[in-house]
């Protein structure tokens, strides 16, 4: 599975990186790691706007592991 590590990056980098990966991957699963609630919300909103679904969000320490899926 492709992993995007956007921890420590400020807006709009986490969303930009997610959308770039979505463009490359087309379908399947992508895991995105972020470390703020804001980035989590923004990444989820962006993924959903591209027709991807949020499969799972796991909180580990201060990080969020978001798994998105399509197809």
């Amino acid at each position: 599975m492709n992993v995007v590590d956007a921890r420590g990056l400020s807006c709009p980098q986490p969303v930009l990186m997610t959308l770039e990966e979505i463009k490359k991957t087309n379908q399947g699963e992508i895991k995105i790691v972020v470390d703020t609630e804001t980035s989590k919300e923004n990444v989820c909103r962006a993924a959903q706007s591209q027709g991807w679904q949020i499969k799972d969000i796991q909180e580990q320490g201060e990080d969020f592991y978001i798994t998105i899926v399509k197809g």
Partner: protein, 364 residues
């Protein structure tokens, strides 16, 4: 609290926060704040720089409690919802310089993006040039994002790092209580106060502080950002944050209309000038600096409140930028731009382009 958390991240959440700001800002004007300046992050940070004596422009010196409230309200919200994350170390010197020039650009126009919206909502059509400039500046910023511009990662750090700017704000508040304004006096203890001009116009201290705390709380929850609104629209065609500023504009227009504060026209608008080109270019500079720094001046205060030490450096850059703006004759007045305002805008744009072009990572 979970339901509330989800609500503010929703479309209606951001719309309601924009509307609340749009109602409260004209009310603050009614209660004493300067014309079309119920809330202005740039102007109010400039007034704080004046209150501290960092510049000595006699008409703009006041320790604005709204700014203090923004940071502390955000801090409270961040702690209540478990979102306080102390972090720092993402190109702080760059953020400081961007803060300096963002402030200079905003003071050539005479307002931050919030005030640009408030000026428009009260019929000051000069704001149209400022908002057009803001959009163009942010658009230039999005080109840099597409080219790989990135200030690098911040690091998690001690909680106390994130506490420093909120503590500075507490310090400012304490100073204000120890040295309160004395009617007709330009100084009280170590603090400077304006006897006339915009700095002398303010709502009662406790009302300003309470409104600031409320807006800080709500904006932290909703991630309200005027720069992000246009950036996301241009970069991702996302309308989420944009709905927020539309709600602010509409609510402020209705409130101004009801309060008799709507006066359409170009000439004789409060704390505004009619030099279209510099209204436009000032905000091109501000918009570009906000975009490169990742948030409008309000958002930077809210981020600083939730522990972002880099946003705190941007805020300090803005306060220092305000001091330069008035000491060097860069800031505008109702008569027009300052003697060196035009040069400062050109230099600021060159600095932002230098930052944008040189701080790029090739995509992996």
């Amino acid at each position: 609290m979970q339901g509330m958390k989800n609500f503010f991240a929703s479309k209606w959440g951001i719309i309601s926060v924009g509307a609340v700001i749009g109602i409260l800002a004209p009310l603050l004007q009614k209660w004493g704040n300067p014309g079309n300046m119920g809330v202005c992050v740039a102007c109010f940070e400039r007034d704080i720089a004046g209150a501290l004596g960092l510049h000595r422009a006699a008409v703009v010196q006041y320790m604005r409690p709204e700014i203090i409230g923004f940071v502390l309200g955000s801090l409270v919200a961040a702690y209540l919802f478990g979102e306080f994350r102390s972090r720092a170390g993402s190109a702080p010197i760059v953020r400081f310089i961007l803060g300096v020039f963002a402030m200079i650009g905003a003071l050539v126009f005479l307002g931050c993006p919030w005030r640009a919206m408030l000026r428009l909502s009260a019929g000051d059509w000069n704001a149209l040039f400022g908002i057009a400039g803001l959009i163009v500046g942010i658009w230039i910023g999005t080109i840099f994002f597409r080219l790989g511009y990135n200030l690098g990662r911040s690091q998690k750090t001690y909680s106390s790092v994130g506490w420093l700017l909120p503590l500075v704000m507490v310090g400012f508040l304490v100073l204000m209580f120890i040295f309160p304004q004395v009617q007709g006096e330009p100084k009280s203890g170590v603090l400077f106060y304006s006897i006339k001009g915009p700095g002398a116009m303010h709502a009662p201290v406790l009302i300003s502080l309470l409104v600031g705390l409320g807006i800080g709380f709500l904006a932290q929850r909703s991630r309200f950002c005027t720069m992000g609104a246009f950036r996301d629209l241009i970069l991702f065609k996302q309308t989420h944050l944009f709905f927020g500023i539309c709600a602010l504009l509409l609510a402020a227009f209705i409130t101004n209309f009801i309060l008799g504060q709507f006066h359409p026209g170009f000439a004789h608008q409060p704390v505004a000038h009619t030099m279209e080109l510099w209204n436009f270019l000032g905000m091109v500079l501000a918009g570009l600096a906000f975009a490169l720094a990742g948030g409008c001046p309000g958002r930077q205060l809210f981020l600083a409140g939730e522990g972002d030490g880099d946003a705190a450096v941007f805020v300090l850059g803005m306060i220092v930028g305000a001091a330069f703006a008035h000491n060097f004759g860069l800031a505008s007045s109702p008569k027009g731009i300052g003697p060196h305002g035009a040069a400062a805008v050109v230099i600021g744009l060159l600095v932002c382009l230098f930052i944008g072009f040189t701080m790029r990572k090739k995509s992996a």
